[in-house]
């Protein structure tokens, strides 16, 4: 597609990158078909091609973001289904990241929106604060429906709805420290402790550590790690995101120096997509560019790593699993087969729900900030999952687990919890 940027504009490295991305787009429109918001709303402005055009127009004209552009960019889930579909290889992810930074820098959001976002950015990435917030939420729950009646306060009502009724105890296993391999050591990895996940489902990392050590892998949960930065990155709060990235890069490089690392294991695919992008995010920082690229190259989703360990075929369990592929897994990281192969080997019957490419509407903080579209996508996802008549649902991202769990009675687990059970661990409590 033709672009109109001056040499001066292109001197800004962010603009230069976006220009290259825009030049690849041939405006064929294929991306519209697999975009969850276009499929839901039927307006090209809420499709990748429409957003690409809005961003192009805004950047070419050096214009601050306006309410219209912000509306349509905010509705983007960043599910990246469009990048899986795009034949010409448009790097939509980095284009929309740039647009979000531009919005954050040039647009003043309405008061309640600012407040909501500031609250999310100050809470979710910090496990201690998040735990406190969830405890407070149980007191506030009776007010949820009241809050939802006023549009600007709706996100607060949704947050109360999403907060779990019973908060899990923090897992002792998943605390920072070293977990030696059982028997002969065949590898050494670090595991990302995460931010929201250990508060909501500490069982996931605990199961991962049990499984990996049983398989002969030494697992380190390094102290000093912070949230991967994904949540604030998707809000366009780039400084905060890069700060988190630098901090983690330092921690993991320290770990590499201490004992070498075969991989950095991530059990939430949303975080995986971001950590694999650290190299790009920090490319303009001479002190960190190379270090970050090294870290990104080591990042692995837990199923991606397990696939290299050649696990043995297990006896049939007589359970049918609907596998929900998180967008960050299938579109962000292009991991499509590994989790299903692992589940089948582990003895589960695996079903692919229809419209598997469509997002469940979780998408980080999207279900809080865009409750209406998110709710429609959740209903559509749950309908497709339930149509496969599964005994349980497996997925690889905490966001999807929280979202889908509020729409169905069928138990939903992280893939690794099922694998831990199949390879010598305890049966997950929810299945007993």
């Amino acid at each position: 597609m033709q672009t109109n940027f001056t040499a001066e504009q292109l001197a800004d490295p962010h603009v230069a990158t976006s220009e290259k991305i825009l030049r690849k787009c041939v405006h064929c429109g294929f991306c519209t078909a697999t975009c969850p918001t276009y499929v839901t709303l039927g307006n090209e402005l809420d499709s990748p091609r429409g957003r690409i055009y809005l961003i192009k127009d805004m950047l070419e004209n050096d214009r601050p973001a306006d309410a219209e552009v912000v509306t349509h960019i905010d509705r983007c889930l960043s599910c990246l289904a469009c990048t899986t579909t795009c034949p010409s290889g448009v790097d939509y992810m980095h284009l929309v990241d740039h647009a979000r930074m531009h919005i954050e820098a040039t647009y003043k959001r309405p008061f309640w929106d600012r407040l909501t976002r500031a609250l999310l950015a100050a809470t979710l990435p910090y496990p201690g604060r998040f735990r406190l917030a969830l405890k407070a939420a149980s007191l506030g729950r009776p007010f949820a429906s009241l809050l939802k009646r006023f549009k600007p306060l709706e996100p607060f009502g949704v947050m109360l709805d999403l907060a779990p009724r019973n908060l899990a105890k923090a897992s002792a296993t998943a605390r920072p420290g070293m977990h030696p391999a059982a028997g002969e050591r065949r590898g050494r990895v670090a595991i990302l402790s995460g931010c929201a996940q250990p508060v909501l489902k500490p069982e996931i990392n605990a199961a991962t550590i049990r499984l990996l050590t049983r398989l002969g892998v030494e697992v380190v949960a390094p102290a000093g790690e912070v949230c991967c930065g994904s949540l604030v990155h998707h809000m366009g709060r780039e400084a905060q995101a890069l700060e988190a990235a630098r901090r983690n890069v330092d921690i993991w490089l320290g770990e590499i120096e201490r004992g070498g690392l075969d991989a950095i294991i991530i059990t939430a695919s949303g975080c995986g997509t971001t950590i694999k992008d650290y190299g790009f995010m920090l490319r303009l920082d001479p002190a960190y560019a190379e270090k970050a690229a090294r870290v990104s190259a080591l990042a692995r989703d837990v199923t991606e790593y397990l696939a290299t360990l050649d696990l043995r075929e297990q006896e049939a369990k007589g359970l049918t699993v609907a596998y929900h592929s998180a967008c960050s897994m299938q579109h962000g990281q292009k991991i499509t087969l590994a989790p299903k192969i692992l589940l089948r080997k582990a003895g589960f019957v695996v079903r692919d729900p229809a419209e598997g490419h469509l997002c469940c509407g979780s998408a980080g903080t999207y279900n809080i900030l865009q409750p209406e579209i998110s709710g429609k996508l959740k209903a559509r996802k749950v309908k497709n999952i339930e149509a496969t008549k599964p005994d349980l649902i497996a997925t690889g991202n905490i966001g999807c687990i929280t979202q889908i769990a509020t729409g169905t009675e069928i138990p939903i687990l992280h893939t690794v919890e099922l694998l831990d059970w199949a390879y010598g661990g305890n049966k997950p409590a929810v299945l007993s």
């Binding site: 690849k24 429109g29 519209t32 219209e68």
Partner: protein, 477 residues
Amino acid sequence: MDQIGFLESRQAVLSRRREIVADLLDLLPRGCLVHEPRELVPFETDAFVSYRRLPLAVALPETTQQVAAVMKYCHRYGVPVVPRGAGTSLSGGAIPQEDAVVIGLSKMSRILEVDFANRAAVVQAGVTNLAISEAVSADGYFYAPDPSSQLACTIGGNIGMNSGGAHCLKYGVTTNNLLGVKLVLIDGTIVELGGKALDAGGLDLLGVVCGGEGQLGIVTEATVRLVAKPEGARPVLFGFDSSEEAGACVADVIGAGIIPVAIEFMDKPAIEICEAFAHAGYPMDVEALLIVEVEGSEAEMEAMLASIIEIAGRHGVKVVKESQSATEAALIWKGRKSAFGATGRIADYICMDGTVPLGQLPAVLRGTAEIVEKYGLRVANVFHAGDGNMHPLILFNANDPEDAARAEAAGNEILKLCVDVGGCLTGEHGVGIEKRDLMRHQYGDADLAQQMAVRAAFDPQWLLNPSKVFPLEGRPA
């Protein structure tokens, strides 16, 4: 690019812009009218992205009645109307103009009825082509015409352009698979043409409307033919040392009375582009490739393949590669169907759509290469060879106006060549804006006058998609 002109905007319409927007807001539900200037920009073009014009407003109705209300209003106040499906037109069929209201059918995307007893489905015009096949696939049926953009393009757009596709060699194009439509006329009248039966009495207006390029009315619902899936289907790759040999092989296969489901052609540049995207396992050491799909029982497929392999042998076929699994077959088609978009990885392009008698394929391939070389450009060929429907993709740099002008000139020469050897300007993409000024190369004055008279019978004021199809000069006053 700016060689192709649009009609002058109607000042009377432009000066009433505010009132028109206000009135349309009254006619449509909330969220169904786009009118903020910045929000209109993404609607300024379709997949013929070299040309761009902002519309006055974009209506996104949810029902046939709302479409009718907007049309009636536009008719009353002399406002041009440009219909839009998914905006995937390669000929600029959905490009608007400054004084026009775009009516987009993207919110009308439901499948209304599936009727296996009558092998028919009734769908809203904004449903995508592929969505129809997906909806009936589990029951063993599909909708046959399969434009490469079938993932995204809408059935309404397919009807407007009488779209084809790889599998149309055996099953026919849109018009051969369309049973009926609900059509909104420019004055807001809603008419029904055809139905679930094979034929309807009276004039075949359905045949006129299919391929009408949005100039006769706006289709809001369609009744389409469903076809039972074959017992089996298998794409086979045939690699040749030259494009001419591959082209001659196609003519001989069809000439021998063999009609496979599809015969698709790719030259070396196209093979490289598609392989980079789809990793389909296309042979990389050949100059040209045919994808031949056979279907039926195992015995039928074997017998047809044997005859084709024998003919290909006479043309020095270098590689014959059968797909070994459903996954491999899917990748072969994914690569082929993404060819145009995937070309965006290496350059900007414009895609031609000339159709030639099969015997002329080798000569036109040669002629195309010569024309493109003369302009100092590159070309990739990927097309429906069995139908003689050629798609040279002329590669250029959209940020270089001279390069763009050369590409357009080369394209025009290629299309004229197609007409000169007894072919036509468009096989399936429609005339749109792209080929409008070449229509006189194909038709005499009397032919054009007759077509325009039919068009004017539906839309006497020429309000519907008015800048398209017919050259701007010589239109009836």
